[in-house]
Symmetry: D2
Subunit: 313 residues, 4 copies
């Protein structure tokens, strides 16, 4: 892909996304999350053929929040195996908000999927007997090709001060025999992962590794197994945007994971990774500028998984 | 009421209830609760006109469990006032099991009533800034006219080892701003109250005090306000037998509170208190022998709240 | 009871209830129900010792709506027997709005109770093989001691034009094998019963018959069996005011059934029937003036089921 | 693709799928659906480069059932427009069984998606003012390239005799203002569409048209708009296999729609259509042999949407 064309399209994309910011709100349920610049907007793209391009606020650090669920899921699948992981967590979209307890209490012996909080807490409980947080941090740095990722202490503390609902979910999971490790450790591990500080660039990097089936785009090193990456991309597609995932898949058609910190990581399979940062959120908790930006890029570059225009040209 | 007639009817009631024991199960969700004699059965009655009569295992000590919710509610109403208490907890039957989280999460800004776990934990959170557990223990001794009531340490510890679901409920309450005191303290306070060791006799005593609108049947001392007792009796009637309360009200018609320790406390308004102990439970968690026993007594003595046969005789 | 004292208290009660009317709304979900005078207010009392007293708009005719569920339940219990009826409908408060389908679909093989629409439609399906509507109309006239009761054709037609939700409930009941008679006939039978035109006086009459355990207060004729009436009073107490029943039982303590036509029928056991008419409703669908009026009367005359002041005086 | 290789792989696929048949059950909720040969199994493939290959029972006619939801959705999107359709129906997986009423009643002003019954009934209500059933039948014949498709009268009648639950859903939709056309007509239109008689071959044909973005594979005629087809494929992927869609997407990764008649239609984007017939169903209502067959083919031919092995070879 031509760098100049890409740059020019991304600049248009910035303009397409900008007006949406006004209609969203930054996350306020945790005090520390309010300390962001609502108007920040950055888009970063890294393509399989080696083109990098960033426009806007792509070096601003923000916390991964739910995007870290992808890292934890990847490591859990690599290290605990598919069978163990999916005996504890399902793969179905839930039709519920990300922090609901209802489905879990009513119907099931396992959380619907690893992208809702109950699922991610369960994944955390599988990881803590095997990995320290420092080791997970190292994973995050490698997968995002970003050695500067660190935990945002202020956000971590602030989240732990407002963690009652997740704590409720975690103890409910324990009461059902789903979490078998220490609940408080699982909770703090999960919250630390949420507090990792990344940039739009880091997310584009991570996206590209997933687009390349787990291989490092430069060294070719296989960082994640092919099968693990395939599962992750599918789950991102069906569950990555909370209870707006279905509509997003229809209109954008790119596996994407959002976080309430304002980040979006998109994986255009076999082609590119896209990272977006903009902390103004829509009512479902997804970065509100992301949708118009990705819809625009999807149309311009034929990125929808069921669009073959590109191949025909 | 004639003591001999009462004695003879109670002995028949024992025989009426006995066969049901076989069809129930003792509570097993907490290991220590299993350490009971499943076949134990005792009925104790204390009437307004001073007749006491006990048959069967009326001196066996067992833990109050949910019956302690009545004591906590009574003290909360006395000391925090109706307005404060009912701003935090409702008075509606929930149609749900006693430990459900669903209604709470879906619909409401307060637990449905003080007889389900979410409501009782909320009441505990209102009490802890005002009362030590020792003071509550003293209340229990007075209201049950039983100075030997103590906390069963083994049951308390065992319950605290299996308290995940209640802990989940408690943190969910905190996340909704319903519990404002310390969650762990509320939880341990609530669990201590559940672990109070009573007998069928203690429950008959407590029942009589409620039947007498809060007055001590011997000294005449007003232990609880008339209005408080009226509220309690009504809530016992509509919510006292978990999600079997409606059917129990129809068939038995006596305000009654059950506990998974096997106790039942019944209040025949203006006439008598009845205490029953039998640890074999029906699937809803109510003492399984209690229903046939109380139905029998209700018919024999016209105890149903809407039965006036007695007055006509 | 002294007629003059009663008259004077009822006049005060009118004044107590009047201001609430402003805060309610007449039912609007059916066009024809809007054709009422929102400010109408009438209270009628008929006591066991033969005192009749009516104040305000006690001769205005309005449709029974849900109050007819009591007549249908009474006849079903008399003619089909307890066993048959309660194999099809439960006796538990549902914690849900009167027209919910959720509990029914999720949990159960029978409606929670006969006071919610699903339960009442089921009762209707039990009655239609045995009774014509004309026979039920006759029952209504007898039980309300009001030979002028008739069906309000305009309301009936208007309701049948807006019956989709009840039709949905009825077909769901059929799909679960709960309704075995013709669904459309059950639906129209139920709706006709709702459209019976009564007055506050008729409701006081009906209430008194229930207060007298089913006997006609003048002739002494046993119109309903004692046991049937006991069941009805209990169910009115626990389920009569929709999902506000629990709170109403606590504060008022009188078995009462409401209808969205604005009627209330109260049964002060062994003492009196009370009929109220005021079409301004609270958000749960209960006559909004009824609560303060009945709370006032309950306090003045010690009508709460757990208030014995009267006996002591 | 080489016809012989394809043939040989399909024969292996038959063997892979066969043993699963034993563990499933044919649909029994409608008597007429039982009249099938449980052991029938056929797989038909039609590729973009013109290769047709069928093994097993590919000429047996069976009813489309839910697969017809795709035809109705396609026509609705073509003729009513995206805006109108998606104002009435969402695009989110529901996490519920296909015939649930709960989500609809609790949360929403529109059905979650067009693949659950509430959504499909809504689509039917949009179509009936514009199309006769005969016109829809003609659409079906064209899209399946099968002029012999007809309505199975016996199944249609049998379904209409057991349609209570769908009728309940339809009236609930009317009560919420979602269905604005005649409910009974919508219901019968929907049921007729379900009763269309197809073969595994017809489904492979239809699948190929969708794989070719709506173009007829032989004439090149654009039968459906590109955008419509993209939406359909995405919704098939996220919602096509009832509440097993998420897991199916992960393991198989091919947009697929199932019907309780035993059919499966799969769309391997830009490559082929696959039709499967086997009336033995898993507990979620999906053809039980379909999963192992499609997993096998997905692996052999790299058909998973996130598998690029093929391109690399």
């Amino acid at each position: 892909m031509d760098q100049n064309i890409l740059k020019s399209k991304l600049e248009t994309a910035l303009k397409v996304g900008k007006p949406a910011i006004f209609f969203g709100e930054v996350a306020t349920y945790i005090p520390e999350l309010r300390n962001v610049n609502k108007d920040d907007l950055g888009i970063s793209v890294y393509t399989k053929d080696g083109v990098c391009c960033s426009v806007g606020d792509c070096d601003v650090r923000f916390t991964m929040q739910s995007i870290s669920k992808i890292i934890s899921l990847a490591v859990a699948l690599e290290e605990c195996g598919f069978k163990r992981v999916f005996s504890k967590v399902g793969m179905e979209p839930s039709g519920e908000a990300f922090n609901s307890l209802v489905e879990l209490d009513l119907n099931s012996n396992r959380p619907f999927n690893p992208m809702i909080n109950s699922g991610a807490l369960t994944i955390a409980s599988l990881l803590i007997p095997k990995f320290t947080f420092e080791e997970m941090l190292e994973y995050a740095r490698i997968l995002c090709m970003d050695p500067d990722i660190d935990m945002n202490e202020a956000v971590y503390k602030s989240e732990m001060d407002h963690v009652s609902r997740n704590r409720a979910i975690a103890y409910l999971l324990e009461s059902k025999g789903i979490i078998e490790s220490d609940v408080e450790e699982s909770l703090s591990f999960y919250t630390k992962m949420c507090s990792l500080n990344v940039t739009a660039k880091s997310l584009a990097n991570f996206g590209l590794i997933l687009a390349c089936d787990g291989r490092h785009p430069e060294t070719g090193e296989q960082l994640l197994q092919n099968e693990v990456v395939r599962v992750i991309k599918t789950i991102m597609l069906t569950c990555g945007m909370y209870d707006g995932s279905g509509e997003f898949a229809v209109h954008v058609g790119i596996p994407t994971k959002s976080g309430v910190g304002g980040g979006l990581m998109s994986v255009v399979d076999n082609r590119m990774g896209i990272g977006i940062y903009s902390p103004s959120l829509d009512p479902k908790g997804n970065c509100i500028a992301g949708r118009p930006i990705l819809e625009y890029l999807s149309q311009e570059f034929h990125l929808h998984m069921f669009d073959h225009q590109d191949e025909k040209e």
